[in-house]
């Protein structure tokens, strides 16, 4: 019933537009996002939507035995397809026609649940790149061994022959995007396992939001950042330097810090553009910003326990 230790880091690949590293127990995955940028292959250009491409690779050293030639094999192709379709669902592709978004996911250490870790890492990387999304997608795996539902299987539990259910949901909308299952399960057992996986996904979602807020408030020197936000049913806000910025009245990164997050957004914009307004408001904004940072830092850092 308990997940493995999760850890996430944003901005690990400096060159990429957005990147993240996600760890679930011993499974470590790095995701990098490039985009939106011009389509490289004109024949694949979509006139109404952005083209989303995804590539999943496992490093040779990621599993116990060193593997050879894994890039083009069937498992990688299938997982690439799955990640692409999952992320495509949550990205607002119609806002960026005739462009291309590349998601590259590399497994550095594999210990079960690589697909879930990849999707979580891709979500964070997309948020880091400031790509507008409908909602974040979080994923978690669950299984059934010895008549017990287990959450977040590792490699040994996975290869024991029991069932393995990988689930990806959009937590705010409470809808299931990704569902993959293998091995046999009766219908009722499956329902229990799926319920467990959904709870796991929601826990991951909470963590991801905390990390995004943390990153935003601490590394504000990083120009491109986005706030995961739920404005109305289908639209997610993102502040996006150099392109556009918007603030809305109900901005919530972390549920319990909603007012502070809103104030922080305001201050952040103020800090960036305040110099145009004049030095007075600018100074006020910077001071307020620093105060908010210190206040929220204490609350956020407690999560990792």
């Amino acid at each position: 019933m308990v997940m493995r230790q999760i850890r996430a880091e944003i901005g690990v690949v400096a060159k990429a537009d957005g990147s993240a590293m996600f760890e679930m127990g011993n499974t470590k995955v790095v995701a990098a996002v490039y985009g939106p940028r011009e389509v490289q292959n004109r024949s694949q250009q979509l006139n109404a939507n952005a083209l989303v491409r995804c590539e999943y690779t496992m490093a040779n050293f990621s599993t116990g035995d060193r593997m050879r030639k894994l890039k083009g094999d069937r498992r990688s192709t299938e997982i690439s397809l799955v990640i692409r379709q999952t992320m495509e669902e949550c990205i607002l592709t119609n806002l960026m026609p005739r462009s291309q978004i590349d998601i590259f996911v590399q497994v550095v250490q594999a210990d079960g649940g690589t697909l879930s870790a990849c999707i979580n890492a891709a979500t964070l990387a997309l948020a880091n790149a400031g790509i507008p999304m409908r909602d974040i997608v979080t994923s978690c795996s669950a299984g059934y061994l010895n008549s017990t539902p287990l959450l977040d299987l590792n490699y040994i539990e996975d290869s024991a022959g029991g069932a393995d259910v990988t689930l990806g949901i959009m937590p705010k909308l409470d809808k299931v995007t990704l569902l993959q299952m293998d091995a046999k399960l009766s219908l009722d057992t499956f329902e229990n396992v799926m319920q467990l996986a959904i709870e796991g996904c929601k826990a991951v979602a909470d963590y991801i939001r905390e990390v995004s807020a943390f990153h935003f408030l601490f590394f504000f020197s990083n120009d491109k950042l986005s706030i995961v936000d739920h404005v109305d049913e289908h639209c997610l806000l993102s502040t996006y330097d150099g392109y556009y910025w918007r603030t809305q009245s109900n901005c919530s990164i972390v549920e319990e810090h909603s007012f502070i997050a809103w104030l922080a957004t305001l201050c952040r914009c103020g800090v960036l553009y305040g110099s145009k307004l004049g030095s007075g408001p600018h100074l006020v904004a910077v001071l307020l910003f620093w105060i908010l940072k210190i206040v929220t830092w204490r609350k956020l850092v407690n999560f990792n326990d």
């Binding site: 694949q44 069937r74 990640i83 379709q85 299931v176 569902l179 959904i198």
Partner: protein, 466 residues
Amino acid sequence: MEQRMANTWRMTVNEKKFIETALESGLRIDGRRPFDYRKLEIKFGKDEGSAEVHLGQTHVMAFVTAQLVQPYRDRPNDGTLSIFTEFSPMADPSFEPGRPGESAVELGRVIDRGLRESRAVDTESLCILSGKLVWAIRVDLHILDNGGNLIDAANIAALAGLLTFRRPECSLGGENGQEVIIHPPEEREPLHLIVHHLPIAVTFAFFSYESSVVIDPTHHEEAVMGGRMTATLNSNGDVCAIQKAGGEAILQGVIMQCLRIAAAKAGAISDMIKKEVDSYNTKRALLKIKRHSTPRDVDRGASDIGLKQNSSVDQMRVDEFSGHHVQRIKQECEEGIAKQSRDVESETKLSDKTQTNRSNEDTKNFIGGPSSWDPYSVGVDSDSLKASLASQGMQMPIEKQKDSKGEETRSEAKPEDAPENNNPKTSPLREAESAERANGEKTLKDAVKAKNRKSRRKSHSSSGPS
């Protein structure tokens, strides 16, 4: 990652709107209701293990072949099952020849997960020499026409192929029992694969408007749909695999509802597959009976020329068995016969298990279908066992496997038949024996002369209904 958009057929906006609007009122463009399947036809080819499935306009063929290979190091006692897909360019303009595209890989892996992970095909029975030689079953799926819902059709084709496939029997021989002899089908009846249950794939398509769900989308509906989910279930209500790779997000309640509908559909389809496979096996068994009346002469000719390798052995066995079958009839059980035949057949070096199998099989051949070397079995065949002839043809491989291996789904009906058959068998056999003793010489001559053979065949069919 490649999407050949240039080759894709694009749907017009009008068509798209039409389909979506129709779905809002629960209508589909081909007149089906949302949870209806298209017409399913399963045909079998000339080779064993080849099946052809028509699901509406979708046309898929499956071929099953087997090969002896070395097993994986971490699974020395398991055979392997691998699925290969080929998306022929004639099926759809967006299919490219050469390397399988993403959808081809996905289809192969979904079917593979449904069959392998759920242990539908028993791989332990495919082991011959632990750690050295196992059977590798290879299923090749060819998509010939893409009318939508390829996964379901390909799954049905693969199952039909696996159920009708027979692998050659092999026995251990050589100096220390390490050599494997593969017996050709004329010599030994090939064996069925052991299939524990039938995982049936049911595909749902989700549409963004009105959250509509339909089963078995056609090609047009697939171009309009927002997402797809394939659930593989068997008729026991177990979920074997689920694949929902992104696409339209749906509520958890909708997923459970879809699974329940899929359970019902899976039961219906697996019944249909079993029915088709049974009728195919019946036809095949009947064909085999008729066929075996002729190869005797072929065999005689061949033995004269000396082409057949085992001809001398066959001749010996003929003498043994002719003496045997008399005793066998008195015994009324196959195990007794097996022991006797085993004693006589000391020339061959076999392990006990395979030996029982072989002798069982020889007696099986003797009972249900005459083998080429037995001149007297023709008489037996013509008079006896007509009522249970069809089931016998299928029953024999099952009985043999039952003796040595685990259960088999097809034999669920047969064990009831088997004890019944043993009793009526003996009485017709006694008649047959006397008849054949009288006709012994005649049948040999009949074989050479064409016209007599035909008259004998008529007597076959005349005594058929009896």
